[in-house]
């Protein structure tokens, strides 16, 4: 028999915009963001919570959007990589994005959104001032291209800045 349950609603603020949507209960937050809202900057790399490519910030915490259901974001405030910069060509990169570019911490870019969001969340908690700490912050995400050297340098440059 068809499922007669009430449809599942998710009412969430994503990048400052409120969305009220009907979703399948099993839809992951990553698929909701990508497929429904067409915020395709969030990438799905492993679908089991290890690689971190799908990291977004939910109510201030960096989470794996592949391991979270869209309905769990009901009432939550979600930030994705698209929120970091205004998307016009003239929109300035954030200091973190700019440092990633200057230190060549980006190659294929598939993991980059996840690193952006996990490091953004970490920097809100406090400065990153030494290499060991930088590597610890970065260790929740996997990059296959860069060997992390540029990321460590970029994070240290930005992370010790007083404004964070």
């Amino acid at each position: 028999m068809p499922d007669q349950d009430e449809p599942d609603w998710v009412d969430t603020v994503v990048n400052g915009v409120r969305h009220e949507e009907v979703v399948d209960a099993r839809t992951t937050l990553a698929d909701f963001l990508r497929g429904r809202l067409r915020l395709t900057g969030t990438h799905v790399g492993c679908e089991h919570g290890v690689c971190g490519a799908c990291t977004v910030i939910v109510d201030g915490a960096a989470v794996r959007s592949c391991l979270m259901l869209a309905v769990q974001a009901d009432g939550a405030v979600v930030e994705t990589v698209e929120s970091l910069t205004d998307d016009s060509a003239s929109g300035e990169l954030t200091p973190l994005q700019d440092a990633f570019s200057r230190h060549h911490a980006v190659q294929c870019g598939f993991c980059t959104s996840g690193f952006m969001m996990s490091t953004t969340a970490a920097l809100r908690e406090g400065p990153v001032t030494d290499e060991a700490q930088a590597r610890e912050v970065l260790s929740g995400n996997i990059c296959r291209c860069t060997g992390y050297t540029g990321m460590v340098a970029a994070l240290l440059e930005v992370g010790s800045d007083d404004q964070h």
Partner: protein, 788 residues
Amino acid sequence: MTSTETRPSTMIGRSVLRREDRRLLTGAATYLDDLELPGCYEAAFVRSPHAAARIVSIDTSAAAAMPGVIGVWTGADLPEIAKGIPPKVVHPQLRDVPRMPLPADFVKFVGEPVAVVVATSRYVAEDALDLVEVEYDVLPAVSSTGAALADGAPLIHEGADDNVAVHVVQTAGDPAAAMAAAPHRLRERFSVTRGGGHSMETRGVAARFDPTTEQLVVWDTTQSPHYVRNTLAHLYDMPEDGIRVVAPPDVGGGFGPKAQFYGEEAVIPWVARLLRNPVKWIEDRRENFVATMMERTQVHDVEIGFDDDGHILAIRNVFEHDQGAYCAGLQVPMITLSTLPGQYRIPNIHTELIACYTNMVPTSSVRGAGRPQAVVAMERMVDRAAEHLGMDPVEFRRRNLVQADEFPYRVGLTFRDGSPLTYDSGNFPLLMDETLAAFDYSGERERQTAARAEGRLVGIGVAAYVEGCGLGPYEGSRYRLLNDGTILVTLAAAPQGQGYETVYAQIAADALGMDMDLIRVTTGDTGRIPFGQGTFASRNTATAGPATLQAGDEMRGKILQVAEAMLKTSAASLEIHGDRVSVADDPSRSVTLREIAGAANVGKHGITLAPGILPGLETTVYFAPERAAYASGTHAVAVEIDPETGAIDVLRYVIGHDCGNVMNPMLVDGQVLGGFAHGIGNAMYEEPFYDETGQPQSTSYLDYSLPSSMEVPPVELVHIHTPSPLNPLGAKGAGEGGTIPVPAAIANAVEDALRPFGARITSLPITPPKIVDALSTDDLDGTGPWHG
């Protein structure tokens, strides 16, 4: 006319920041799964759960009846594409077995696709997978080269006497006699296990058929769009111009596996054509673990003969190569064959390949492509020989290095393209010196001595390699002056993070004598340039690079010729500044690139071109290198072992690297550092286990460890630059060198650390349990303070 003046390099050699970065950092990039394909169906594959089985029956009726399912097809349902996928690189003696897009009768490895479900969403398609009933008659499976080559082994493919795919011997000199006469001979058996590419973006294919134009457009995460187009044209029996293959502007890593062709790539466009509706398939990570090709498994039986002075007299290496269930190409073991001698002058060489089929996913190139294994065999034996003589291993190496004045150096073997294996250029002694100076080799030895006196297990490893790169047959670059006065450079090859849009604009800027701002680079679309090979084998800077240089030079000549006619002057006195071509000594006489395009490209309907105006300013150059250009490198590492846990701590790591002339140093460093991280994975972490029935046991990143920022140690880079004479840029390859010697260097260092015990390390990756095991055996000959 072609300009003959020598223009200074102003952009080549500079660390220009990447044009790609902005979209990647802001989430605005377009990967395959980001393409806007309205109404697109999504596919999922039914895959074999058995490593060897006969397909008795497949019942798709329940799946097909499920709401939201558009269609289900098995191999038997698609006889039109039931053709073998040709191997990429073959050998006359290869016993090839057809690899079908969707096999109808037998499955040969876990993960082999047997049916495809197309549905309105991936969620629905995966639901329907569970309703496809496949009855299998399970057969005995083989999951190692040893099992495959054992007497009475189950046959992977019917109709053969054994599981050997190809057996190739290459020799130089008289290795048997030289080995027999050598004062010292040492033997060992080394094994290197499988490892994957593990691009962060998995594979994916999307396709749309336009019945009006009869064009099939295929978006593919491939490294080689033209190879995919040619293969599809063959399988579909379609003209190649009826198929346009596009690698999206952003592909999330390649590393080799995406340079191969897979059954899914044949099935998805075909069903899109049948359905007259877009269809896409995005591989999930679980599929990636079982169905995407891997590399690396080889077992080497190597013997080295040398004299009292440490001169290598002969090397003999017989190795088993795991080809997997089918031969997707012989490139990997053929490269291993010829990489063995490395940087050393060895008069007598025997290198022998026994490639065999197994019931595991087929193997193909993964970053390094057969070279890391050869370097393990060679460099590990060099260390053993030095130890045997009581000689410093660096001194032993120095006595055998090919010298700087010996290039071009003929090794005595045959390269995979059939030519005599010849190193075009290099300076191995300088590379060794510079690397070890940066490493402070003598200082590290002193620190090692002091550490040993304190009871610490510190070891030093060195490994050197050569890499034949910049392989043929050719690569192309097409220039067009657009009507807005900018230049479009089109490459056939598709990037996966290497920064082509930046580095080829640098090369084009110098070739044209123009600002980079006026140049845009586009890649990876068979509709834009008819011929191409792809991104693999560290080849593009040395193939597409010279093509871009030469085509740019031709294009400048054409632009100047048209400007000359428009300005009624001589090209020799013309200069290009910004978007304007002007007379050198009278800048008031000038014409813009837009005006040149208007005159030469747009024209006026029915009006004859003025004298000297060339019709249509475009040019395409295909550069075909004479043979491979040889990059080289030397790595030095110091490690410390925790004898209780077997953990390896990398104390220092220095990479010496020679990839000839460098286009963008920042990007080259990035390639080397990223390759190094991959090598660290191969050396210490990555191990895809299969049980004896061929079941993969490590199919998640919880079980298969990719190095994170905690595992990849800091590394120092040293560069020397010996330009290749084989191309006008003097370029070689940089994509794989960082990976190649890492397993050998780490293994040498670990065994050096364990030398007080005489413990031996012969299998890679080197994991803590292996070290603890090596320290726990009874036959250790050491008398170190911890022995007991």
